[in-house]
Protein backbone atom coordinates (compact mmCIF):
# COMPACT_ATOMS: atom_id res chain seq x y z
CA UNK A 1 0.00 0.00 0.00
CA UNK A 2 1.18 3.51 -0.68
CA UNK A 3 1.20 6.47 1.69
CA UNK A 4 -1.54 8.06 -0.38
CA UNK A 5 -3.77 4.98 -0.14
CA UNK A 6 -3.23 4.76 3.62
CA UNK A 7 -4.19 8.42 4.02
CA UNK A 8 -7.28 8.11 1.82
CA UNK A 9 -8.41 4.88 3.46
CA UNK A 10 -8.15 6.34 6.95
CA UNK A 11 -9.74 9.78 6.91
CA UNK A 12 -10.55 9.26 10.61
CA UNK A 13 -6.84 9.58 11.44
CA UNK A 14 -6.86 13.26 12.25
CA UNK A 15 -3.55 13.32 14.09
CA UNK A 16 -0.59 12.62 11.87
CA UNK A 17 2.92 12.33 13.30
CA UNK A 18 6.30 11.79 11.77
CA UNK A 19 8.95 10.40 14.08
CA UNK A 20 12.57 9.53 13.55
CA UNK A 21 16.12 10.39 14.46
CA UNK A 22 17.58 13.86 14.09
CA UNK A 23 17.85 15.18 10.54
CA UNK A 24 16.00 12.41 8.71
CA UNK A 25 13.32 14.75 7.38
CA UNK A 26 10.49 14.78 9.93
CA UNK A 27 9.79 18.48 9.51
CA UNK A 28 10.02 18.28 5.73
CA UNK A 29 7.57 15.38 5.61
CA UNK A 30 5.23 17.08 8.05
CA UNK A 31 5.16 20.16 5.84
CA UNK A 32 4.71 18.13 2.65
CA UNK A 33 1.89 16.06 4.17
CA UNK A 34 0.17 19.20 5.42
CA UNK A 35 0.54 20.72 1.97
CA UNK A 36 -0.90 17.65 0.26
CA UNK A 37 -3.88 17.37 2.63
CA UNK A 38 -4.60 21.10 2.29
CA UNK A 39 -4.53 20.82 -1.49
CA UNK A 40 -7.10 17.99 -1.12
CA UNK A 41 -9.42 20.55 0.48
CA UNK A 42 -8.81 19.61 4.13
CA UNK A 43 -8.25 22.24 6.78
CA UNK A 44 -4.82 21.45 8.19
CA UNK A 45 -2.65 22.69 11.04
CA UNK A 46 0.98 21.63 11.07
CA UNK A 47 2.72 22.46 14.32
CA UNK A 48 6.05 21.89 15.88
CA UNK A 49 6.63 20.48 19.34
CA UNK A 50 10.38 20.81 18.89
CA UNK A 51 12.08 23.63 20.81
CA UNK A 52 14.47 23.83 17.84
CA UNK A 53 11.60 24.15 15.42
CA UNK A 54 12.30 24.64 11.75
CA UNK A 55 8.91 25.13 10.14
CA UNK A 56 9.91 28.78 9.84
CA UNK A 57 12.79 27.76 7.53
CA UNK A 58 10.71 25.34 5.51
CA UNK A 59 7.87 27.75 4.81
CA UNK A 60 10.24 30.72 4.61
CA UNK A 61 7.91 32.59 6.94
CA UNK A 62 8.60 33.80 10.47
CA UNK A 63 5.93 31.94 12.41
CA UNK A 64 7.79 31.35 15.71
CA UNK A 65 5.53 32.05 18.68
CA UNK A 66 2.91 33.78 16.53
CA UNK A 67 0.11 31.25 16.95
CA UNK A 68 -1.37 29.55 13.87
CA UNK A 69 -0.19 31.42 10.76
CA UNK A 70 -1.94 30.85 7.46
CA UNK A 71 0.51 29.68 4.82
CA UNK A 72 -1.93 29.12 1.98
CA UNK A 73 -5.56 28.16 1.44
CA UNK A 74 -6.52 25.52 4.09
CA UNK A 75 -3.00 25.36 5.55
CA UNK A 76 -1.87 26.83 8.85
CA UNK A 77 1.47 26.39 10.58
CA UNK A 78 2.44 26.99 14.20
CA UNK A 79 5.63 26.92 16.20
CA UNK A 80 5.14 26.93 19.94
CA UNK A 81 7.43 29.36 21.72
CA UNK A 82 8.17 27.48 24.94
CA UNK A 83 10.12 30.33 26.59
CA UNK A 84 7.33 32.88 26.27
CA UNK A 85 4.82 30.27 27.30
CA UNK A 86 6.83 29.55 30.47
CA UNK A 87 7.26 33.26 31.27
CA UNK A 88 3.52 33.93 30.92
CA UNK A 89 2.78 30.92 33.05
CA UNK A 90 5.21 32.02 35.79
CA UNK A 91 3.56 35.43 35.81
CA UNK A 92 0.14 33.84 36.21
CA UNK A 93 1.39 31.83 39.19
CA UNK A 94 2.88 34.98 40.80
CA UNK A 95 -0.32 36.94 40.25
CA UNK A 96 -2.38 34.15 41.75
CA UNK A 97 -0.22 34.15 44.89
CA UNK A 98 -0.53 37.93 45.23
CA UNK A 99 -4.31 37.81 44.75
CA UNK A 100 -4.88 34.87 47.07
CA UNK A 101 -2.99 36.33 50.02
CA UNK A 102 -3.21 40.05 49.28
CA UNK A 103 0.57 40.36 49.26
CA UNK A 104 2.40 43.37 47.79
CA UNK A 105 5.14 41.09 46.46
CA UNK A 106 5.91 37.41 46.17
CA UNK A 107 7.93 36.17 49.20
CA UNK A 108 11.57 35.63 48.37
CA UNK A 109 11.57 31.93 49.14
CA UNK A 110 8.61 31.36 46.84
CA UNK A 111 10.09 33.54 44.10
CA UNK A 112 13.31 31.51 44.27
CA UNK A 113 11.29 28.37 43.87
CA UNK A 114 9.48 29.73 40.83
CA UNK A 115 12.82 30.63 39.26
CA UNK A 116 14.45 27.30 40.11
CA UNK A 117 11.52 25.24 38.85
CA UNK A 118 11.64 27.01 35.50
CA UNK A 119 15.31 26.21 35.06
CA UNK A 120 14.70 22.47 35.29
CA UNK A 121 15.40 20.55 32.10
CA UNK A 122 11.92 19.04 31.96
CA UNK A 123 10.28 22.47 32.04
CA UNK A 124 10.45 23.17 28.33
CA UNK A 125 9.09 19.79 27.29
CA UNK A 126 6.32 20.00 29.84
CA UNK A 127 5.39 23.50 28.73
CA UNK A 128 5.14 22.42 25.09
CA UNK A 129 3.29 19.28 26.08
CA UNK A 130 0.78 21.47 27.88
CA UNK A 131 0.50 24.00 25.06
CA UNK A 132 -0.24 21.20 22.58
CA UNK A 133 -3.31 20.27 24.61
CA UNK A 134 -4.65 23.80 24.06
CA UNK A 135 -3.93 23.62 20.34
CA UNK A 136 -5.57 20.26 19.86
CA UNK A 137 -8.52 20.77 22.23
CA UNK A 138 -9.82 23.70 20.21
CA UNK A 139 -10.52 21.23 17.41
CA UNK A 140 -10.78 23.79 14.62
CA UNK A 141 -8.97 21.72 12.00
CA UNK A 142 -9.64 18.53 10.03
CA UNK A 143 -6.05 17.40 10.45
CA UNK A 144 -3.29 18.06 12.96
CA UNK A 145 0.21 17.28 11.82
CA UNK A 146 2.73 16.99 14.67
CA UNK A 147 6.26 17.82 13.72
CA UNK A 148 7.86 15.73 16.46
CA UNK A 149 11.17 16.00 18.26
CA UNK A 150 13.93 13.46 17.52
CA UNK A 151 13.38 9.92 18.80
CA UNK A 152 14.93 10.11 22.23
CA UNK A 153 12.92 13.17 23.14
CA UNK A 154 9.75 11.77 21.63
CA UNK A 155 10.09 8.71 23.83
CA UNK A 156 10.60 10.94 26.81
CA UNK A 157 7.53 12.90 25.81
CA UNK A 158 5.47 9.73 25.66
CA UNK A 159 6.79 8.18 28.84
CA UNK A 160 6.18 11.48 30.58
CA UNK A 161 2.45 11.09 29.97
CA UNK A 162 2.44 7.71 31.68
CA UNK A 163 4.60 8.82 34.59
CA UNK A 164 2.56 11.98 35.11
CA UNK A 165 -0.64 10.05 35.07
CA UNK A 166 0.48 7.52 37.67
CA UNK A 167 1.99 10.24 39.79
CA UNK A 168 -1.16 12.33 39.73
CA UNK A 169 -3.26 9.30 40.63
CA UNK A 170 -1.12 8.75 43.71
CA UNK A 171 -1.22 12.29 45.00
CA UNK A 172 -4.90 12.59 44.23
CA UNK A 173 -5.42 9.59 46.47
CA UNK A 174 -3.30 11.16 49.20
CA UNK A 175 -5.28 14.36 48.84
CA UNK A 176 -8.55 12.47 49.16
CA UNK A 177 -7.31 10.75 52.33
CA UNK A 178 -6.34 14.13 53.73
CA UNK A 179 -9.84 15.28 53.03
CA UNK A 180 -11.32 12.35 54.94
CA UNK A 181 -9.35 13.36 58.01
CA UNK A 182 -10.50 16.91 57.61
CA UNK A 183 -14.11 15.80 57.44
CA UNK A 184 -13.65 13.61 60.48
CA UNK A 185 -12.37 16.57 62.50
CA UNK A 186 -15.28 18.68 61.29
CA UNK A 187 -17.75 16.02 62.40
CA UNK A 188 -16.11 15.66 65.81
CA UNK A 189 -16.25 19.39 66.33
CA UNK A 190 -19.75 19.81 64.93
CA UNK A 191 -18.44 22.19 62.33
CA UNK A 192 -19.74 22.61 58.87
CA UNK A 193 -18.00 20.51 56.27
CA UNK A 194 -14.95 22.35 55.02
CA UNK A 195 -15.04 24.06 51.69
CA UNK A 196 -13.96 22.29 48.54
CA UNK A 197 -10.34 21.28 48.31
CA UNK A 198 -8.96 23.55 45.62
CA UNK A 199 -5.76 21.56 45.33
CA UNK A 200 -7.74 18.44 44.57
CA UNK A 201 -9.52 20.35 41.83
CA UNK A 202 -6.19 21.50 40.38
CA UNK A 203 -4.89 17.94 40.44
CA UNK A 204 -7.93 16.70 38.59
CA UNK A 205 -7.46 19.49 36.05
CA UNK A 206 -3.80 18.53 35.50
CA UNK A 207 -4.74 14.87 35.19
CA UNK A 208 -7.31 15.71 32.57
CA UNK A 209 -4.80 17.76 30.55
CA UNK A 210 -2.22 14.99 30.59
CA UNK A 211 -4.74 12.33 29.69
CA UNK A 212 -6.03 14.35 26.74
CA UNK A 213 -2.55 14.61 25.33
CA UNK A 214 -1.62 10.99 26.00
CA UNK A 215 -4.91 9.74 24.59
CA UNK A 216 -4.22 11.40 21.27
CA UNK A 217 -0.70 9.98 21.06
CA UNK A 218 -1.94 6.47 21.64
CA UNK A 219 -5.33 6.55 19.95
CA UNK A 220 -5.38 3.73 17.42
CA UNK A 221 -8.27 5.07 15.38
CA UNK A 222 -7.50 8.79 15.27
CA UNK A 223 -3.71 8.76 15.20
CA UNK A 224 -1.32 7.78 12.46
CA UNK A 225 2.32 7.60 13.48
CA UNK A 226 4.82 7.30 10.65
CA UNK A 227 8.50 6.56 11.04
CA UNK A 228 10.92 8.36 8.77
CA UNK A 229 14.07 6.38 7.93
CA UNK A 230 16.98 6.86 5.63
CA UNK A 231 18.88 3.94 4.08
CA UNK A 232 21.84 4.06 6.46
CA UNK A 233 22.90 1.35 8.89
CA UNK A 234 22.76 3.36 12.10
CA UNK A 235 19.43 4.98 11.34
CA UNK A 236 17.89 1.60 10.55
CA UNK A 237 19.14 0.12 13.83
CA UNK A 238 17.88 3.06 15.85
CA UNK A 239 14.51 2.91 14.14
CA UNK A 240 14.15 -0.80 14.81
CA UNK A 241 14.83 -0.24 18.51
CA UNK A 242 12.58 2.81 18.70
CA UNK A 243 9.74 0.97 16.97
CA UNK A 244 9.80 -1.64 19.72
CA UNK A 245 9.77 0.98 22.46
CA UNK A 246 6.97 2.92 20.79
CA UNK A 247 4.96 -0.28 20.55
CA UNK A 248 5.38 -0.70 24.32
CA UNK A 249 3.84 2.71 24.82
CA UNK A 250 0.93 1.64 22.59
CA UNK A 251 1.76 4.16 19.89
CA UNK A 252 0.00 2.94 16.75
CA UNK A 253 2.68 2.78 14.04
CA UNK A 254 0.97 3.37 10.71
CA UNK A 255 3.99 2.77 8.50
CA UNK A 256 7.47 3.74 7.40
CA UNK A 257 8.61 6.29 4.87
CA UNK A 258 12.12 6.09 3.44
CA UNK A 259 13.80 9.39 2.70
CA UNK A 260 16.94 10.36 0.76
CA UNK A 261 16.91 7.48 -1.67
CA UNK A 262 19.39 8.24 -4.44
CA UNK A 263 17.53 7.88 -7.77
CA UNK A 264 18.47 4.56 -9.41
CA UNK A 265 18.08 6.09 -12.89
CA UNK A 266 21.49 7.69 -12.32
CA UNK A 267 23.11 4.28 -12.77
CA UNK A 268 22.38 4.49 -16.49
CA UNK A 269 24.36 7.70 -16.73
CA UNK A 270 28.03 8.44 -16.59
CA UNK A 271 28.40 8.96 -12.85
CA UNK A 272 31.48 8.90 -10.62
CA UNK A 273 32.51 5.75 -8.75
CA UNK A 274 31.73 7.51 -5.45
CA UNK A 275 28.06 7.79 -6.33
CA UNK A 276 27.93 4.21 -7.63
CA UNK A 277 29.22 2.99 -4.29
CA UNK A 278 26.67 5.01 -2.38
CA UNK A 279 23.91 3.57 -4.52
CA UNK A 280 25.21 0.04 -3.92
CA UNK A 281 25.32 0.76 -0.18
CA UNK A 282 21.75 2.07 -0.24
CA UNK A 283 20.61 -1.02 -2.18
CA UNK A 284 21.93 -3.20 0.59
CA UNK A 285 20.25 -1.13 3.29
CA UNK A 286 17.02 -1.04 1.31
CA UNK A 287 17.09 -4.85 1.34
CA UNK A 288 17.49 -4.73 5.13
CA UNK A 289 14.62 -2.28 5.40
CA UNK A 290 12.36 -4.48 3.29
CA UNK A 291 13.30 -7.48 5.41
CA UNK A 292 12.54 -5.59 8.62
CA UNK A 293 9.42 -3.66 7.70
CA UNK A 294 8.21 -5.21 4.41
CA UNK A 295 4.74 -4.08 3.44
CA UNK A 296 4.75 -1.34 6.01
CA UNK A 297 7.15 0.74 3.90
CA UNK A 298 4.71 3.14 2.29
CA UNK A 299 6.84 5.50 0.24
CA UNK A 300 10.35 5.99 -1.06
CA UNK A 301 11.29 9.63 -1.33
CA UNK A 302 14.28 10.55 -3.48
CA UNK A 303 17.19 12.67 -2.38
CA UNK A 304 16.29 16.12 -3.71
CA UNK A 305 18.68 18.16 -5.80
CA UNK A 306 18.34 21.06 -3.40
CA UNK A 307 16.96 22.06 0.03
CA UNK A 308 13.27 21.65 0.55
CA UNK A 309 12.27 25.19 1.46
CA UNK A 310 9.48 27.30 0.06
CA UNK A 311 6.10 26.14 -1.24
CA UNK A 312 7.45 25.25 -4.70
CA UNK A 313 9.83 22.60 -3.37
CA UNK A 314 7.28 21.37 -0.82
CA UNK A 315 4.79 20.85 -3.63
CA UNK A 316 7.37 18.89 -5.62
CA UNK A 317 8.20 16.71 -2.61
CA UNK A 318 4.52 16.13 -1.79
CA UNK A 319 3.97 14.98 -5.37
CA UNK A 320 6.55 12.19 -5.01
CA UNK A 321 5.51 11.29 -1.45
CA UNK A 322 1.85 10.93 -2.38
CA UNK A 323 2.31 9.53 -5.88
Amino acid sequence: MSLKEVMLQHPERRYIMFGGGGGVGKTTFSAATAYWLASQGKKVLVFSVDPQASLTDIFKRDIFGKGPVQIMNNLWAQEIDADTHIRTYQQEVRQKILDMYGLPKVPEEIENYIQAASAEPAMEESAIFDAVVDVVMKGDYDYYIYDLVPLGHALYYLSMAKVYDEWINKITKLREEMREYEEMVSRLRHEKVTEQDQILNELLYIKNRINTSARILTDKTKTGFFFVVIPEAMVINDTRKAAQTFAQFDVPIAGYVVNRVIPRELLGQNIPEYLRRRIAMQDQHMADLHAAFGERILALVPEMERDVTGLGMIEKLAATMFA
Partner: protein
Protein backbone atom coordinates in the same frame (compact mmCIF):
# COMPACT_ATOMS: atom_id res chain seq x y z
CA UNK B 1 -34.72 36.37 82.47
CA UNK B 2 -37.10 33.43 83.04
CA UNK B 3 -39.86 34.54 80.76
CA UNK B 4 -42.32 31.99 79.32
CA UNK B 5 -40.41 31.77 76.08
CA UNK B 6 -36.97 32.34 77.65
CA UNK B 7 -37.04 29.36 80.03
CA UNK B 8 -36.92 26.51 77.53
CA UNK B 9 -34.09 28.12 75.59
CA UNK B 10 -31.94 28.59 78.67
CA UNK B 11 -32.63 25.06 79.77
CA UNK B 12 -31.78 23.72 76.31
CA UNK B 13 -28.59 25.66 75.98
CA UNK B 14 -27.57 24.55 79.49
CA UNK B 15 -28.11 20.93 78.48
CA UNK B 16 -26.24 21.61 75.30
CA UNK B 17 -23.31 22.94 77.25
CA UNK B 18 -23.15 19.79 79.38
CA UNK B 19 -23.50 17.57 76.34
CA UNK B 20 -20.87 19.45 74.41
CA UNK B 21 -18.50 19.40 77.37
CA UNK B 22 -18.84 15.64 77.78
CA UNK B 23 -18.65 15.02 74.07
CA UNK B 24 -15.82 17.46 73.72
CA UNK B 25 -13.72 15.72 76.37
CA UNK B 26 -14.05 12.43 74.52
CA UNK B 27 -13.67 13.86 71.07
CA UNK B 28 -10.92 16.33 71.76
CA UNK B 29 -8.16 13.74 71.71
CA UNK B 30 -9.54 12.09 68.63
CA UNK B 31 -9.77 15.29 66.70
CA UNK B 32 -6.30 16.29 67.83
CA UNK B 33 -4.91 13.00 66.60
CA UNK B 34 -6.76 13.39 63.34
CA UNK B 35 -5.43 16.90 62.87
CA UNK B 36 -1.92 15.69 63.55
CA UNK B 37 -2.24 12.97 60.94
CA UNK B 38 -3.73 15.49 58.57
CA UNK B 39 -0.79 17.84 59.13
CA UNK B 40 1.69 15.04 58.48
CA UNK B 41 -0.06 14.23 55.26
CA UNK B 42 -0.01 17.88 54.30
CA UNK B 43 3.75 17.86 54.76
CA UNK B 44 4.11 14.69 52.79
CA UNK B 45 2.04 16.26 50.07
CA UNK B 46 4.22 19.34 49.93
CA UNK B 47 7.31 17.15 49.95
CA UNK B 48 6.20 15.28 46.86
CA UNK B 49 4.99 18.34 45.03
CA UNK B 50 7.52 20.95 46.11
CA UNK B 51 10.44 18.66 46.93
CA UNK B 52 12.70 20.91 44.86
CA UNK B 53 12.72 23.36 47.74
CA UNK B 54 14.79 20.87 49.71
CA UNK B 55 16.65 19.73 46.64
CA UNK B 56 14.52 16.65 45.99
CA UNK B 57 12.91 16.94 42.56
CA UNK B 58 9.96 14.59 42.35
CA UNK B 59 7.13 16.23 40.48
CA UNK B 60 7.53 17.60 36.96
CA UNK B 61 8.10 21.27 37.80
CA UNK B 62 5.61 22.61 35.28
CA UNK B 63 2.70 21.26 37.25
CA UNK B 64 4.13 21.81 40.70
CA UNK B 65 4.05 25.54 39.89
CA UNK B 66 0.31 25.20 39.39
CA UNK B 67 -0.07 23.96 42.94
CA UNK B 68 2.36 26.44 44.48
CA UNK B 69 -0.13 29.24 45.26
CA UNK B 70 -2.18 26.92 47.51
CA UNK B 71 0.71 25.86 49.69
CA UNK B 72 2.45 29.21 50.17
CA UNK B 73 1.41 29.53 53.87
CA UNK B 74 2.52 25.99 54.69
CA UNK B 75 5.95 26.22 53.10
CA UNK B 76 7.82 27.82 56.01
CA UNK B 77 6.40 25.44 58.65
CA UNK B 78 6.99 22.55 56.35
CA UNK B 79 10.64 23.38 55.83
CA UNK B 80 11.15 23.74 59.57
CA UNK B 81 9.53 20.40 60.15
CA UNK B 82 11.47 18.62 57.44
CA UNK B 83 14.72 19.91 58.86
CA UNK B 84 13.76 19.10 62.44
CA UNK B 85 12.84 15.47 61.83
CA UNK B 86 15.77 13.10 62.06
CA UNK B 87 14.31 10.91 59.40
CA UNK B 88 11.99 12.16 56.68
CA UNK B 89 9.97 8.96 57.10
CA UNK B 90 9.13 10.07 60.65
CA UNK B 91 7.24 12.94 59.16
CA UNK B 92 5.39 10.73 56.77
CA UNK B 93 4.01 8.10 59.08
Amino acid sequence: MTGPEGAPTTEKSWLDVVREALYGMAAHDMSRAALRTRASMEHLFILITMGDLLGIPILPPYYSLRLLPYVVPQISTWKRRMLREKDVADAMF
